[in-house]
Symmetry: C2
Subunit: 481 residues, 2 copies
């Protein structure tokens, strides 16, 4: 340990469960996922974070292509009058909209998109003429601005973030309803199979639904600090949008009809979910499927064995090309221990130690980031071992997260049980009236516990845990990001 | 032709060389590449246009990854004070910047990025500490706002567009200079090999260089209407940025040093270049490499042969899967002639006609979009034929464009020759003083002819074609977009 280890102080200095907010901020910034921007409320997505986002984009582009959805790009500027065409929508977004100073001859203000329903549907009204133009299925990857006044929580709350927004138009309500559920289930699959984050799915209460939707469906994860994270929503839009923007079509019988629409989106908030869910006191842990570099090859260089170790390490690097391996060439400056910690901080799924002693047995040491488990592996079998080990790690991460998730959803029937659950970092599943007013009271009384989504109707005469009135639904409750 | 051909009127109604501006606008909108937005000066990139842009992004991401460049994302909002740190830069962008109304406690205005040097370099000053942090090579894909007052020319001039901007920092000037040229040559390769657009490369004059650069290098194409199109630029930045934003590093000898930087970018303007360059009176022509769907399979359905034709067409569709084939199922509603025109309008590189007569010989008819050349091809050899034909078409498109390009660059030595060249849709290569003042006079006198780039120094005592003074350079001149 005689080497230059001063950078050791760059490690995480708080524990995950001592001060989750500080720990999160440290993991995000020190791992290279993101950074705070010199503009209040904004973030910088650093190369590692952007590469994870790219994995998510690539995955989801292939998913939506399979459903016949095409990508497009609409302007970031939206005329003010567009917002006010759909009243609920305008009301919902009004406080968060940023406006630009520049105006044209009309003197109308331009907003920076907080979401793109209005500008897209105005255009759709010119693109759609007949049932032959339907379904119209368009997705957009873009930046979004919501002028938050709270401080930036990187990925979780910021004035600007990246997202995808799908906006589809259908001939029939049945087709629309079916597809709204398809995108919801694709979100669940993305969360669980790609990000290894278990989620519940369900309908939002009227109070929590999207401004302008008839029904909003959501996927929600539960973070280790007991807060729920809304990770994607899929909306059955009201026909208010179509009416407001004049979207209509000549039906199969030539009569004029109003189409049915949905919209659905997820954002870079997912990256915050990954960090929160999987990372630990040593730093970032990335599910292998979204890690841009799945292994790091670390030569353990000793003076007299330098050449043979480096030759072996370079050979391994080339054998593992399909995993986009990184190579640690910092042995001159830093001790092995420091280098191990540094790669752990950055969340590389597998560390491959190439040392003289193992090489005598034609082996290397492979260490898993999530469990720290070490295995000696024959070099001749390394590529196939790595392939399997990455799959195992991905599955184990999900299984372990799923187990905790299930333990932390508690069915409660009384207010006492409810308060005990939500104050101990759990999500409560409780019978509830479903009234917006009761939600408001509960949120105020508990300083922030909200309904996350409806699980199902309460059909066995259950009483609302909060009011004692007849319950309408079983609802998931939690604090949230 | 008894079928419903009323949509025939959706074809292009102007010829390319009768009214290029109108023709261009029609091709862009009617082919499905893009549309005008309900916000002045803005465009909507439609699915076909976005898919072509995606091809360009995929290609270039792989190129820059090979050069060790990583993608990241910086905020779209830039504090006003950042602009004024580098004086030339501020001056250059001032007229085009859009500002938002919202302010924070500091009361400072926020701009919407017209380019990201300032916000990125402010951040770089915190990321870079030592020579070990260099080179830092970052690229960003994002939207850009330049508040043009002129009308929107889709892809070519709009208030918002998409682009990539690379921003690298190096220890030495030599390394920087070398890499600035590497990105320039990658741009040339992209234009020529992917987009089939021949370009010249060279240095911009001082008057035309980027605001804040020591030297700007450019690739320029020549559109069929005689206007040059700047398609990508690579800048050796002045150290003014590093000094203004406090980017410095501890060198190998531990002394404090100022690094060297470059930046380089191209935008969705490239899509305008593709349309201008290759398309014709029938509509869009896309180079096969960027066409999302490289073939369309068109069954020629006749009453008594419907089933056998459809079975064969579907089989072919599945055999050609690797080319993302489209399937034309509109035979009920439209005549074959109309359908051919419609696919020509949309620029599908190869049309495959599956008709009963050809099927008797186990053949189909393959028609190239660029030349209208028809070939009868055995179904058993179709996939390999298509693969080769697409390559041939890509190469032919470049070769043909290159031939015209070379014919249209005219070496001139007198003002008379010069005026003749630039007024007949050609690019003039002429000896020139290189003085900014002379450029201004010339531009005013010719109503818009500008220097495009420097070819080389004038070392044989040439006289400036315009002033008669000793020439400093051979320079390319043209009108431009």
């Amino acid at each position: 340990m005689a080497k230059n280890d001063k950078m050791q102080t760059l490690g995480i200095t708080t524990k995950k469960f001592d001060d989750t907010a500080d720990w999160y901020s440290q993991v995000v910034t020190k791992s290279g996922m993101a950074d705070y921007a010199p503009v209040k409320g904004c973030m910088i997505i650093k190369p590692l974070g952007y590469a994870v986002w790219q994995s998510v984009m690539d995955y989801f582009n292939s998913v939506i292509k399979g459903h016949g959805v095409q990508n497009a790009y609409f302007p970031m500027f939206i005329p003010e009058s567009f917002f006010y065409k759909e009243a609920e929508h305008a009301e919902g977004f009004k406080p968060e909209v940023a406006w630009i100073e520049q105006k044209d001859d009309t003197k109308e203000r331009y907003a920076i998109r907080p979401t793109s329903e209005t500008i897209m549907y105005d255009t759709y009204s010119r693109w759609i003429r007949s049932w032959r133009d339907l379904p119209l299925k368009i997705n957009q990857w873009c930046n979004i601005c919501r002028w938050e006044t709270q401080d930036c929580k990187i990925f979780l709350r910021s004035r600007e973030f990246l997202w995808q927004e799908g906006h589809c138009v259908y001939e029939t309500k049945e087709e629309r309803d079916k597809e709204t559920q398809i995108y919801l289930s694709e979100y669940k699959r993305l969360a669980e199979e790609l990000l290894a984050i278990p989620v519940i799915t369900g309908q939002k209460t009227d109070k929590e639904k999207f401004a302008g939707a008839d029904r909003t469906f959501t996927i929600e994860g539960l973070m280790p600090d007991g807060k729920a994270l809304q990770m994607g929503t899929s909306h059955d839009l009201s026909q208010g949008f179509a009416k407001a923007f004049g979207i209509k079509f000549a039906g199969r019988d030539d009569s004029e009809q109003i189409p049915f629409q949905n919209s659905w989106g997820f954002s870079t908030r997912l990256l915050g979910g990954i960090v929160m869910m999987h990372s630990d006191d040593k730093g970032l842990v990335l599910p292998p499927k979204v890690a841009p570099n799945k292994v790091v090859v670390i030569p353990l260089v000793f003076k007299d064995k330098k050449d043979s170790v480096l030759v072996a390490a370079k050979k391994i690097l080339s054998d593992l090309k399909e995993f986009d391996p990184l190579f640690d060439d910092k042995w001159e400056d830093y001790s092995a221990g420091f280098r191990f910690s540094d790669w752990e901080l950055k969340g590389i799924p597998l560390r491959i130690e190439v040392g003289p002693r193992d090489l005598e047995n034609e082996s290397v040491m492979v260490v898993r980031r999530d469990t720290a488990e070490k295995k000696s592996v024959k070099i001749s079998e390394l590529a196939s071992f790595v392939r399997t080990e990455l799959e195992t790690m991905q599955n184990d991460m999900f299984t372990s997260a799923k187990k905790k998730f299930e333990e932390n959803i508690v069915e409660v029937k009384t207010k006492e049980e409810f308060l005990k659950a939500v104050s101990s970092g759990k999500m409560a599943l409780a019978p509830f009236t479903g009234d917006a007013e009761d939600e408001d009271f509960l949120k105020a009384e508990t300083k922030g516990v909200t309904t996350r989504c409806i699980k199902c109707e309460a059909t066995n005469g259950e009483k609302c845990f909060y009011t004692g009135k007849p319950a309408k639904y079983w609802i998931y409750f939690a604090r949230n990001y």
